[in-house]
């Protein structure tokens, strides 16, 4: 079975600085992969290359068989099939919650307004926010905004979801509500790449853990193996630091 997301020999430079060095990994359909590592390790950059938000100079990325780096690829169309959730939520503040959910469906997927609204309401219920459809992002808490952001990405019926540190900007008491939604998604069989520091989440639902440092993939192992017996010294050091608290 070919992987849903295939990354091979990925290299990226910002000017003279190399930020990604020969990264190779694959994510099968239904798999949940957690990417972790110290800051500056390139994990956010890696995930942004997968849907073409960041260009890369060397290597291949394919999503469901479609090459991301190929200039002939219709990127907006591909991106519509991949959902992305950002660290700072990035809801559109001048639009209501419902309009945040329906605008992409109407403009990109060409659904009609009624269909889009129904889908939007169903997803709001699923993330536990059905009463907030008419509110504006500025009126919601961080945890609520992030759940709406997840709903917005799901409204596009994506084949895979990318999460870029989804809980890093949240106050501690709101992290759990977002993680619960993500756990639910994983259990339903969504293909997910999650950049995060939340090791509890990784242990619960991740199939594999990828550890990155200084732009390289240092370790890529099944979850139990990673936490039980990490092979590399750097991974051990990192784990010891973040598992303290």
């Amino acid at each position: 079975m070919s992987a849903m997301i295939d990354i091979a020999g990925l290299c990226k430079w910002y000017g003279p600085t190399q930020v990604l060095n020969d990264c190779t990994t694959a994510v099968a359909s239904g798999e949940v992969v957690v990417v972790c590592g110290p800051s500056g390790s390139g994990k956010s950059t890696l995930i942004k290359c997968v849907n073409g938000l960041e260009p890369f100079q060397k290597g291949h990325i394919a999503v469901d068989g479609i090459s991301v780096g190929d200039p002939k690829t219709n990127l907006p169309k591909l991106r519509a099939r991949i959902g992305m959730v950002f660290q700072h939520f990035e809801l559109f503040p001048h639009l209501s919650v419902m309009r945040n959910l329906t605008l992409p469906q109407i403009k990109v997927l060409r659904r009609n307004a009624e269909e889009a609204q129904q889908k939007g309401m169903r997803l709001l219920e699923r993330v536990g926010l059905s009463g907030h459809a008419g509110k504006f992002p500025g009126e919601l808490s961080g945890g609520q905004q992030q759940r709406v952001a997840i709903a917005r990405a799901l409204a596009m019926d994506p084949i895979a979801m990318l999460f870029d540190e989804p809980t890093s900007a949240l106050d501690p008491e709101m992290i759990q509500e977002v993680l619960d939604v993500m756990v639910g998604l994983a259990k339903e069989g969504m293909t997910m790449i999650v950049v995060t520091h939340e090791m509890g989440f990784a242990r619960k639902v991740a199939h594999r853990v990828v550890f990155m440092d200084k732009g390289e993939i240092v370790e890529d192992a099944p979850t139990t193996e990673f936490f039980g017996r990490p092979r590399s010294e750097r991974a051990q050091l990192f784990l010891s630091k973040i598992l303290q608290h």
Partner: protein
């Protein structure tokens, strides 16, 4: 002096001042603002496009308009517009353009440079994450710009845009240099005809003051009501 102040000349000329003069001023202000903002937004997008073919002419145009006195530009367009008309319509002679049309072209094109800088600041103040989020959802450049960036940029800049409109309103008085009858021109004509410079110019100053002051207070109210909460 004030013992001699002739209020009557003001009262008598009110219809002329307002029906002829003020309507010209207000119409010019309104039209030049609307069209100027449209052209200015286009220029701002050109400047931010990253395509040299677009950024260089846009930047050159804006910098030119901002380096030169408005009065000089009024003279330029006063003489240039008939020739442009001739060139555009392939006629044999420069086209005679009416005073209002000439002024409208001048004010729109001049103020567009200032509206461009305002909109550019507004667009640049939108966090990059907004564009990334739009792109991640599969939106094209035009959808992201039209539905995400410009609505927010415009709302953020409304107070500044309105203040620039008030400046435009005051700048219309400069059409005096080509003897066009706006509000000041009308006051001036009455002043010279009746020899009542003091009364007419004082009255004109008061009217401009009241309108501008009221408008700027209104802008502050608007600002409070439409700010986007992030």
């Amino acid at each position: 002096m004030f013992s001699n102040f002739d209020y009557d000349v003001i009262v008598r000329s009110l219809p002329y001042l307002f029906y002829t003069g003020m309507t010209f001023t207000l119409l010019l202000t309104a039209l030049a603002t609307i069209i100027g903002i449209l052209i200015g937004t286009l220029l701002a997008l050109m400047r931010l496009s990253g395509v040299p073919f677009l950024t260089v002419p846009a930047a050159a145009y804006v910098n030119l308009m901002r380096s030169v006195p408005f009065v000089l530009m009024i003279f330029w367009f006063y003489f240039l517009v008939p020739y442009i008309g001739q060139w555009v319509t392939f006629s044999a002679q420069p086209i005679k353009v009416g005073a209002f049309a000439s002024c409208l072209v001048t004010f729109t094109l001049f103020e567009a440079a200032f509206f461009c800088e305002i909109m550019r600041a507004g667009i640049q103040s939108i966090p990059r994450g907004q564009v990334a989020a739009g792109q991640a959802l599969g939106m094209t450049y035009s959808t992201v710009t039209g539905y995400i960036v410009l609505p927010q940029a415009f709302r953020n800049m409304v107070p500044v845009l309105l203040t620039q409109t008030i400046v435009l309103f005051q700048d219309t008085s400069l059409v005096y240099v080509i003897s066009v009858t706006d509000f000041l021109g009308a006051a001036s004509k009455v002043a010279e005809r009746d020899g009542r410079l003091v009364e007419m110019y004082t009255f004109a100053a008061c009217v401009y003051f009241v309108v501008s002051f009221a408008a700027s207070r209104a802008v502050q109210l608007v600002h409070r009501r439409i700010a986007i909460i992030r």
